[in-house]
Amino acid sequence: MAAEQKQKVTQKKLAPHVYQALEDVVGKRWISEKRSLVETYSKLSIEGMTFVRKHRKDDTAVPACVVLPGTTGEVQSIVKVCNRYSVPFIPFTNGQVFSATTNDQPTLIIHLSRMNSIINIDTDNMVATLQAYVDYAQLQAEAMKHGLWNGGTPLATTVCKLSSQFSFAGLWQTDLKYGLLNRNLVSVKMVLPDGKILTVGSRCLPKAGDFWEYGPGPDLLGMQRGGAGSNGIVTEITVKLHPWAGDTTLPEVPHGRPSLEDVHEPKYDSPPPPANHRLHWIEFKDFSSQIKTMRDISHSGIAIGLNATGVYSAYYCSQTQEMTWERCKNKFFPDYNCYVIIAGITSAKQIDYEEKVLQKIVERNGGTFLTADHKPEVLEALKPWNLDCIRHTCGFRMNRKMYANAWLPTGPFEVGRQTQEFWSDALNAFGECDITDRGGADDTPFLYALQRGRFSFAEVDNYPDPTNPEEIQKAAGYGIYGMARLVKEKVCPCLMAFLSVEPFTTMFPEVGPNQHTLFQKIRRVFDPKGVNAPGRQVYTREEWENVPPMLKQWVNKMREMVGLESVQ
């Protein structure tokens, strides 16, 4: 076997008595420390540093053991074992976005894949309670049978678990009307890092039911959400439901279903919108008129979703990597655009009315609708969005290489302009990794209107070659430069929790200021033994001392590049 010539990566193991204690909790079938099995939990999706660690043959990237609990009680017992023996643990669902990474101690992965049931849909009170592994597609499918839905799916696809997205507050494509996931929570049940169970919201009062996320007393839910998974393991989550205007299932693509022989034919990606929903695409001559129109639409009260995709549609709506590159190069999609999702929630007349309002706003601001007469080929190519706006599937099409990192600045609509400027500077400073990196720099960044336009979310991403560690590091450089620049310019650098993840929490003390000191106190309260997703949100002094000096130097270099002082 040729691989035998290469350097192996040795797996650290749990002590046999620890393994046995865990096996006693879940049974033999649901625990494993097999070498090839733990490997599949070792490299994360868009966590560039785990790629670098894998290229360096760093054995700290490999977990020691994986355990699959089936109930909150089992999660609690596992966590207690971890506390008893000081075993660090990482809760895990897909491992797609920003799961915590392993460290130099033998680390346990608590994979929640068995906890995949919808516990209850309360149609009277319009809430649903889910186990941790339930994803958006499952919830939507069940809620739609009752004329309800949860209000949106995340950019990162419908297989994202709500309990995971809770860790980052959660972005949806229909935030214009429904707000982020964090505005749609009613309750969570968590196993805290010390093994206690925390239930927040009105359900923490016996028989009170699920109706109010804040009460009683101090807002412990707010303290946990967006916590990057550092303060416990969510085992149940209760979310709000909203009226659904469509049918009980989503419509079929009229051209049928693909096979492996023709899966890349665009015709299979051309669904109609759901019943009683319409999608309108508008292009603009410049960024200013785009922003002005988006603000006007937001303020008018019409529509459930409003987003600008810019050149990102080249990734979302292309069926092959070549097509993506071609469309980026040739600017097939309009530089300045947005789409509007209109739903007839109350009646069909609602759609007619809102379309009239939309027409007037667009006309006033000089926008042009994409129609059968105006750029029909572009409108046709954008059809994947017809269902993606409701149940997002295509987001990670951009990820055919590697989705190394992203900037997600938030703020008023003008944040899009700043994102564009800073991203261009970053690419000019470091050089692009891929033609698609220019998306968001030369053209419109991703720009989502949130909560009636009170704020917006911009996004730019980059795509290095995952087999090339130098490119990955370069791409990581954009990300750190971006954070430094956004902090320097006092632009809110994160929608979710980007600056609440180490080493950035500590290395950007301007945020807060000194938010890391608050997080350290919170961690000491909730995680006295420092075992939960260790060092995820904030390092202890000891953990900080173990951070490779090179990483600190690297962040400091970026700070200096943008005119911030080094952090010692």
Partner: protein
Amino acid sequence: MTVNKSGKKVFEKELEDYRDQVWGCARCNWCQNQWGWSVKSAEFSEICPAFHEYRFFPYSGMGKMHIARALIEGDFDYADAPELAEFIYTCTTCGACEMNCQRMQDKEPLKVNEALRARFVRDGVGPMPEHKNLINSVKSYDNPWMQPRTQRDRWAKKLPVKDIGKEPAETLFFVGCTTALDASMSQVARDTASILLKAGVDLGTLGKKELCCGSPIARVGDRETFIELALRNRELLNNTGVKEIVTSCPGCYRAVKHDYPEVPGAAALNFKVYHTVEYIDRLIADGKLTLSREIPLKATWHDPCHLGRHCGIYDAPRNILKAIPGITFVEKERNRDQSWCCGGGGGARTAFLDFAQRTAEKLIDEARRTTGAEAIVTCCPFCEQNIGDVLQRTGDGMKLYNLIALVSQSIA
């Protein structure tokens, strides 16, 4: 960083040829789940039988990508991970992971797993011991069931089918090992031939000279044996002078139509390849077959993976079912490209019978609960064996039909 761009054919690609793909796995988990637009319920939202059963990532397409990456880079070897074969061979090769991953990221987790299997065989750590009997049988008897060659045309007794070695015919019926040699399946061969003859097809067979198509061998990773078989078959079939070949088994269909062109160094096929369902669908559409006898039955269609997801034949069997008087056709929740595998393919049934049968139980459960059907209809001998065994063992009242049998009954 895209698929199929190396210039190599599938059966000459080494695991290392997939290096860029396996490093780039985004852990999006579409390999385990139905395509998002198609999800109709929480319960039936998953699509990978092995992950659904075992719940650990190595059983999923994504897990195979990560294992492949580690093996390519030498992070561990077989001695460190004796469990590897179980992860690699519980896959039913249903292709659901590949379908959704190609659609999402232009990557090929199934082909990666097949490259893993090929490497295991090359290095002597695969296939599973149970597969070796099957391979040895093909080598000795030209079929995987250890049946003498003389038995291969026994099904055709008293049927006026031409022996293509003795007299020319326009259409060759490629019967397939299981249909020809398994006594419980051979009625399908007789029905198929009778139907085609009735429609006026100039039909012949290879008789005792028919060889295994090699599909089961390819799926478990023995490339050397498969390539040898493919080359023999291509020469044999090209020399028949037929214009078209009709196969009864979806595995044969996929092998002849799509795998043989991916074998390096062989001549092109000089005939067209059809599966019986698409051929019969065309005969009905052309008015050469009339289905007139009523069969009162509420029935659902199970898409065999090698026919549907792999080759795109979704509509033909549905058209036929709908054309049979008396049949009420009802669609399972997961269907076509998102159909739930029966568990019988890829060598999973041979090596992991319990898992394969639990997968079939889930299929039967879905069929009953999402359609209210009284019968599952399919047209793959492997699906029939696996589903049929479960129905027999459990005493389940659900009926199971081969579509050809229903067509045969319905012909006036």
